[in-house]
Amino acid sequence: MRRSLPIVSTLIVLLAASYFLIPLYATFQFSLQMVRGQWSFEAYRSVFNSDVFAATVTFSTIASLAAILVGVLIVVPTAYWVRLRLPRWRPVVEFVSLMPLIIPPVVLVFGYVRLFGSTSYLPLTLSNAGTNTLLVAGYVVLSLPYMYRAVDNGMAAIDIKTLTEAAEILGASRFRTIAAVIFPNVRSAIVSGAFLSFSISFGEFVIASLLNRPAFGPYLVQIGQDRAYEPAALAIMSFALIWACMVLMQLFAARKPGGRILPRLIRPSARSVTP
């Protein structure tokens, strides 16, 4: 009985993996078949040669990074303050942070259009900059659940209250405490939240499309309608990007204080602790 268990679980893992890996492999194989009768990276070359591809990738990267920055600036002080001073409000804040998972992006974006449309006091949708602002705001909202979770978990791992008091009694102002003590200690949590945010907003379709922004998501959909092989190549590249994000996230999460920015894969032998 005990010996049969690993076999069963291995089978389950293989089955689940094949569910995921077989379509991925099929897509990959298809993406290599652009030139009839031979394997080639022609589809990838075609994608990279397109100006629209470069423009949308740049646009989406900037928009996603802006969303991460704004998200961090909102989430870190909020999570910190809630843990420090309003612990009773934590469930409420957590619930609010989960709202974007319940409310569809379509509803969100229609709300934006109504609130900031041409007839409103703040007609953001009339200018490019205004619409871009709305797009970033939308991305911030979409990634809020992941960002808040990641940062809040990071704060749970250190004793926020005592560290804050230790910094304060040494003369630090509130701002200095956050910048020099709290922020560096939740940095790896912020970074994992940031990678998650990035992977969500980079290929996002609904908000970008309804706001008519030249982002990567709408481009992906457009290509899917117009071409045959390039979408497969794009899908594989998106996968690679997301996976790279995940790997980086893991590396950052495992970083020890004083270690390098990117941890070595082979650790030097651990220093011994003398009493």
Partner: protein
């Protein structure tokens, strides 16, 4: 004018009063302990001195300056926390340098001061380590150096040793005391461990339910406890109940005991184990006889518990290799001097008469 003054301080959380009518004057360079059971308000009182809590009533002043409403980062106080609270993202040297950087000290001077502090705590070779690479005792020493580096006016320690194991606890407490003497820094040390408080302090504040029950030197606290709480919390004390006769005598279950002063009515008598002896002497004029319930061999001491007058009386005798202690069940006579009897609850005879 004393250096640190706490006057009429009271603290309530909602309807729950945690510190009541607390008064204390601390001289410059003095080492004060707050001693009391868990939950009696020691930490709360300390946090009010630090500025993390605001008193509901009363004032706190340092060096003649009223700091009651001052935020903690303006008070120039050093604090050591029970859980070390070192900054995990900074090396030992950076932890110690933190307060100096905030004070705006030039980098070269900071380096010098950090080296000086690390030498003082004997951890100079670990300057580049991170907190997670240190043992508990080392971390707490770094926390001490970090608190002392900016030359604070007052040092506060909240049970700094209670997370450490016994051996390090004893050596570190000696180290803390030596450092405190050397720097001459005014210190408040919170502990629930009476041995710590007795061995380290210039004066002890024994706290009970948010009140300072007694403030005095370790010698006074131990030998002349003012309340029954202090007597039972500090050191071992055998309690005996009796009836005062009004003329410096009490009757305990038929036996007569001579008291240091007259008392009338119900009295509670306390006796330290080291004041009781199985040997008679000129001043040990009191005697009680009973059966030995328990014999505890403690090394240099042997502690007996003798059943007398419906209670257990502890008797300490020195270990003597040539003379084994009596055994369980033996009948022995305890001798003690009237001057060693502590009369804890009594009505002075004149009041008793007035009440009748």
């Amino acid at each position: 004018m004393s250096f640190l003054r706490i006057e009429g301080v009271k603290k309530s959380f909602g309807g729950n009063t945690v510190v009541r009518g607390f008064d204390l004057s601390v001289e410059k360079g003095e080492f004060i302990s707050f001693l009391g059971p868990s939950g009696c308000g020691k930490t709360t009182m300390l946090r009010m001195v630090a500025g993390f809590e605001t008193p509901t009533a009363g004032t706190i002043s340092i060096d003649g300056q009223d700091v009651t409403a001052q935020p903690p980062n303006r008070r120039r106080i050093g604090m050591v926390f029970q859980a070390y609270a070192l900054f995990p993202n900074m090396s030992v040297a950076d932890n110690v340098a933190f307060g100096l950087k905030i004070a705006g000290m030039p980098a070269a001077q900071i380096r010098e001061r950090v080296a000086e502090m690390l030498t003082l705590i004997g951890l100079r070779h670990l300057a580049d380590r991170y907190p997670y690479q240190l043992s508990g005792g080392q971390q707490q020493r770094v926390a001490l150096a970090r608190a002392l580096a900016p030359s604070p006016r007052v040092l506060l320690l909240d049970e700094p040793l209670s997370a450490l194991d016994a051996k390090i606890r004893v050596s570190l407490r000696e180290e803390i005391r030596a450092l405190q003497r050397k720097l001459g820094i005014t210190t408040i040390f919170v502990t629930h461990d009476q041995e710590e408080a007795l061995s380290m302090s210039d004066r002890i504040v024994v706290m009970n339910e948010g009140r300072a029950d007694q403030i005095g030197t370790p010698f006074e606290i131990y030998n002349r406890p003012k309340t029954r709480f202090v007597a039972s919390f500090v050191g071992n004390l055998s309690l005996l109940e009796g009836e005062g006769t009004g003329d410096a005598r009490a009757i305990l279950a038929g036996d007569e005991v001579i008291l240091p002063f007259p008392a009338r009515g119900r009295v509670i008598l306390g006796l330290r184990p080291e004041a009781a002896s199985l040997q008679a002497s000129a001043d040990r004029t009191n005697q009680l006889t009973g059966r030995i319930d328990e014999v505890n061999f403690l090394g240099s001491l042997v502690r007996l518990r003798v059943a007398v007058a419906g209670a257990g009386v502890l008797v300490d005798m020195f270990n003597n290799p040539g003379n084994p202690p009596p055994g369980r069940g033996d009948i022995v006579t305890i001798h003690f001097a009237p001057a060693d009897v502590q009369v804890l609850e009594h009505t002075p005879p004149e009041l008793a008469i007035a009440a009748e």
